[in-house]
Amino acid sequence: MISWIHPGAILILGSILIPVLPGKAKKGYLLLLPALAFLSVLLTHEGTYWTYHFLGQAIVFGRADRLAIVFAYVFSVAAFASMLYGLHVKEDGHHIAAFVYAGSAMGVAFAGDFITLIIFWEFMAFSSVFLILYRKTAKAYAAAYRYILVHIFGGICLMGGAFLQYSQTHSMAFNHVEAGGLAFALILIGFMLNAAVPPLGAWLPDAYPEATVSGVVFMSAFTTKSAVYVLIRGFAGTEILLWLGVIMAVYGIVYAIIENDIRRLLSYHIISQVGYMVAAVGIGTEMAINGATAHAFNNILYKGLLFMGAGSILHVTGKTRLDELGGLYKTMPRTFILYMIAGFSISGVPLFSGFVGKSMILSAAGEEHLSYVWLILTLVSTGTFLSTTLKLPYLAFMAKDRGIKAADPPGNMTAAMGIVAFLCIFIGIYPKYLYDMLPYATHYAPYTLEHVVWSGQILLFTWLGYYIYINKLKGHPGLNLDTDWFYRKGAGVFMAVDREVVAPADSAVGEAYRKVVLRLGSWLSGLSFRFDVGIVDGFLHGLVRFGVWFSSLFSRRSLSFDKGVIDGVVNGVADFTVSLAAVTRRFQTGLVHDYAFGILVGLLVLINVFFLIS
């Protein structure tokens, strides 16, 4: 009997079949996979599964303890809801990337050693980038390129740190990081980059707003929250995280308040919310870890729902800028209500999920008498209500009616939003459901009179502040500088060197590349095309003709099998390959600095391997 099936394996391996399935069966299958993954998480008992030995190291795919299970649980829920939301997407590659990404996040959650962790960590980066590329705009291609470069850098830091730790402790096991010095710092940097801790976090608001409508719903769930998970696992009680988390919470909210693009506003707001969790990891008490976990769990749901709402606006109207939106509540009433449920949840309105989760972090800060932390985090929570629940919906759904032609989005999108909205309210009125899953047993009681009265006053008077300054927060076009300036614009000196030295060399190499590699490539592709037409097609036609002849001997039913299934498989695989190639060829830029970066990364990998061996 099989004791355990890795839920991530269900998604990753199961996604292989997506291109060969026809129409309706494919849609059913797309929902079946995350449902099975969810079931497999439900059936997971605490224990260690799927342990292998490789180069004298234990490779643990299934370290299932309470912390891992609760994260895998919410990851599988998010995978299901996000897939339902994006069910209408035509490209198979988009679905496969989404499942590999979601499955890898679960792989991270169950990873018991650094090798497994790093493998899934890289899988997450390289699959999620497709969710940006499939937007198929010039801006998206550029943002995707920056996104993957930044994540490769983070992955290399993590790998270097893990191997350095191995040289100190002779263990690749992934537990609380005891190693000191550089190993500690590198692993922490790798994790913090994915958690979008400033100044390493500019990739998030750079890339997420350029992703596809449903892609960003996946992305908001997995990358930052799996980073919070590994921070809890490896760095609970690290004091610097407390202060970085507080800075992060303020940093994200300042941008969210001035941002004009609705999806970029929500992206900055992720940074602010993850700041709460990072600060809680820094506090490190049982209450704080429970708070970080509960907040991550809830955040995956309501932040996903906010992005679903914003995505619906983009899907229906094609607009994301607040200065172009307004008056949508009349034409998109369902979207408006569901968005507001997420907004009330994230703001911590009583009877919604944020109220029962986020408050644990404040209580943990209170228990430790961290008065400044408590005050700043409370200040930030007013900013959450202000930016995501007052400013954004007021300007997008109410305010000036711009007469935009709109309607509620297709049924699958509304249904996905409905499921998540239900969970937000359900957790708000029955918090025991969430508390029973948390890593430490808790009797936390959120619904005390003091707590409700305290929250009610904060929220009501935040509204008053907004009401007074309502005209100061209108949307206007423009962009806001962030630390990505350093790699997007660079210093003037760097640009001069680039113009005088690198650019001529670049164009020379580019010319040589065009002359030699591309010509060789086109010759080879011509050859392979001939092979394809002459031999492969011939073989396939022969096979099909044989099939037709064979079926005519028996019945007409097998002819339809041939048409429906065999052709479906062949065409499906071919279409998928073509669409994948259209996307991947973007990485073949022919520019010398791109390749130089690849070489640099390769060198760093080699140095890492050297560390491992020596």
Binding site: W374, L379, L473, G478
Partner: protein, 82 residues
């Protein structure tokens, strides 16, 4: 599902706004009389503190963010395009 322009009807909006003001008064009134069990910080004993702190936080955030944005962060949309 239709709202029928409830947010554009000045009469209905007036009622809504008054309800919010009434809620503010009620919450502060309860804050003066309710028994307190958790007093982690000195301000937990001050009735109405969270009202004042909520309003002050909101105003400070708006003013500071808009100022930083105006003088430091905001650029034209095509800033990165050249």
């Amino acid at each position: 599902m239709r709202f029928g322009g409830v947010f554009e009807d000045p009469k209905k909006m007036k009622v809504l706004t008054r309800l919010v003001y009434a809620a503010m008064v009620v919450f502060i009134a309860i804050d003066f009389v309710m028994p307190r069990h958790h007093e982690e910080f000195f301000w937990d004993r001050i009735p109405g503190f969270s009202s004042a702190f909520g309003l002050a936080s909101c105003v400070v955030l708006i003013v500071v963010s808009k100022t930083i944005g105006k003088f430091l962060l905001e650029k034209k949309e095509d800033y990165y395009d050249d």
